[in-house]
């Protein structure tokens, strides 16, 4: 019997703070800072004229080739620290520099609205994506 990790739902970087502990997520952002000695990286992203930061613990995905300023996709579990906020403990961290962020956002929104639609129409097969 294999133990599979929980599935990681796409979230926008500005939604992470209200998720809580231990959720599996995937999100994206520009690598703005990487501290190899503490295994910490920061992804940042602009949304609604505000700069959002995603803190990432990289100890599971090291060594990796940090390119400051490049777009990264991160998949992992959220951890909350008091007075600090949310940090993602990364299982996957991959460079996707050159990705069409606007299109990606559209695709994520499209998928969400599809799930919302389906939830409304029937309660049968479909369960909300959040159900783990």
């Amino acid at each position: 019997m294999t133990m599979l990790p929980p599935h990681a739902v796409f979230h926008f970087p500005w939604e992470l703070n209200c998720l809580g502990e231990g959720k599996s997520v995937r999100t994206f952002g520009r690598l703005s800072c990487y501290e190899a000695d503490t295994s910490r990286a920061t992804l940042s992203c602009q949304h609604a004229s505000k700069e959002h930061h995603v803190f990432v613990r990289t100890s599971f995905v090291e060594p990796f080739n940090p390119i400051i300023g490049a777009q990264y996709l991160v998949l992992g579990e959220t951890e909350t620290y008091e007075g600090f906020g949310v940090m993602i403990c990364a299982r996957v961290l991959s460079c996707v520099d050159g990705v069409n962020i606007a299109l990606l956002q559209k695709a994520i929104e499209g998928q969400r609205s599809f799930f919302r639609e389906r939830e409304h129409t029937d309660g049968g097969v479909a369960q909300p994506a959040e159900a783990i």
Binding site: T2, H7, A8, L75, V92, G98, V99, A107, Q111, A126
Partner: protein, 359 residues
């Protein structure tokens, strides 16, 4: 996973659903939750579509390698499923592929051995994935020790540095759901084989079959009225299930249906009324010997005239001649059927798509 046997369509009809023979691009969440058929294990139902093979794209989040297969956990953002990817002969022989790079040969000389080695290496590289890489799997859904998994028939690593493939996939799948998977496919068993027809179409076919089988040459409406009785009866029975069934009576409905059917048959030219009199007599066009002879005579006689000797008679000329000689009520559609029938018997010959001649 328990399923109500009553809700499943009978297995003999599964093949009629086009999704059955396709690799369905379902969300992994749905693959995990589909109910398994009680009739035939290994077949699953999503929204009453029978499904046994799927097409999945996702990130590898778990991997294990055995002698004969890889086991990849694939995450598409809605669920994680195990994919059993069997190693072909190619992946099993370890001497090749992982070995040294091909020996340098003269550039420009095509060396099949080196090329084959390169191809093998490329294929091996595509089959061996690390966590975080993107995997595309097509295969059949299996349940092994109470766990759903995909037994891959095709699997390969997808190079997607700009996420273009993933984004396209994310946009395509909801559309596929809306257009195909979430639409219910009506699988009805109907002895007549015309399951998806309105009563009008059914009734029209019924009368046509009757005419053909009995070689009817003419009839009056009340001769065929009884044939439609079962259709109206079925309708009434269905309607009586609803509380507000206060429509016209069965007899009125029957007469109305027959009227519509006869109109369709006339429009198609299958039947025509030679004389429009109080007594409604319908002649079956193809069975009307007089009409056939009349048309044949017209073409034979007029083809001899100088005017038509070269090209033959035009359809409109034949039509007006038939109307003068035989009956005013012969329609263009009816004439077309007559001409087709005569041509099949080699009584007449078409010289173009609108001209006919006879010898």
């Amino acid at each position: 996973m328990q399923a109500d046997a009553m809700e499943e369509p009978p297995s003999i009809l599964w093949g009629l659903d086009p999704i059955f023979s396709a690799f369905a691009r379902l969300y992994i969440q749905d693959i995990l939750q589909m109910t398994e058929s009680v009739q035939i294990p290994g077949i699953y139902f999503y929204n009453s579509h029978p499904i046994y093979k799927v097409d999945v794209l996702g990130t590898v989040v778990y991997k294990r390698e055995r002698d004969n297969f890889f086991c990849y956990g694939v995450d598409d953002g809605t669920g994680v499923i195990n994919c059993l990817c069997w190693k072909g002969e190619l992946l099993k022989d370890k001497d090749d592929g992982t070995g040294t790079a091909p020996a340098p040969s003269d550039p420009g000389v095509f060396d099949p051995v080196v090329e084959l080695k390169k191809l093998k290496q490329a294929q091996q590289k595509r089959c061996r994935l690390e966590i975080g890489e993107l995997l595309r799997v097509r295969g059949s859904v299996k349940t092994f020790r109470q766990q759903r998994e995909i037994s891959a028939s095709v699997f390969y690593k997808v190079d997607d540095p700009l996420m273009a493939v993933q984004i396209q996939w994310m946009m395509d799948v909801p559309e596929l759901y809306r257009e195909c998977y979430d639409k219910t496919f009506e699988l009805q068993s109907d002895g007549h084989g015309e399951s998806a027809g309105t009563p009008l179409i059914k009734a029209t076919n019924l009368i046509k079959d009757f005419i053909k089988q009995k070689s009817v040459s003419r009839f009056r409406p009340y001769d065929v009225q009884d044939l439609l009785q079962p259709l109206i009866f079925n309708q009434l029975r269905a309607a009586s299930a609803e509380p507000e069934a206060a429509g016209p009576s069965g007899c009125q409905q029957l007469r109305q249906l027959l009227k519509e059917v006869l109109q369709i048959l006339q429009d198609e030219g299958v039947v025509y009324r030679r004389v429009k009199a109080q007594d409604e007599v319908y002649h079956v066009t193809e069975q009307d010997k007089d009409l056939l002879i009349a048309v044949k005579d017209i073409i034979r006689e007029d083809s001899k005239r100088e005017k038509y000797s070269e090209k033959g008679c035009h359809v409109l000329h034949i039509l007006s001649a038939v109307r003068q000689r035989h009956s005013l009520n012969v329609s263009a559609a009816a004439l077309e059927l007559v001409l087709k029938s005569l041509e099949c018997n080699s009584d007449i010959v078409s010289t173009s798509d609108k001209h006919y001649t006879a010898f």
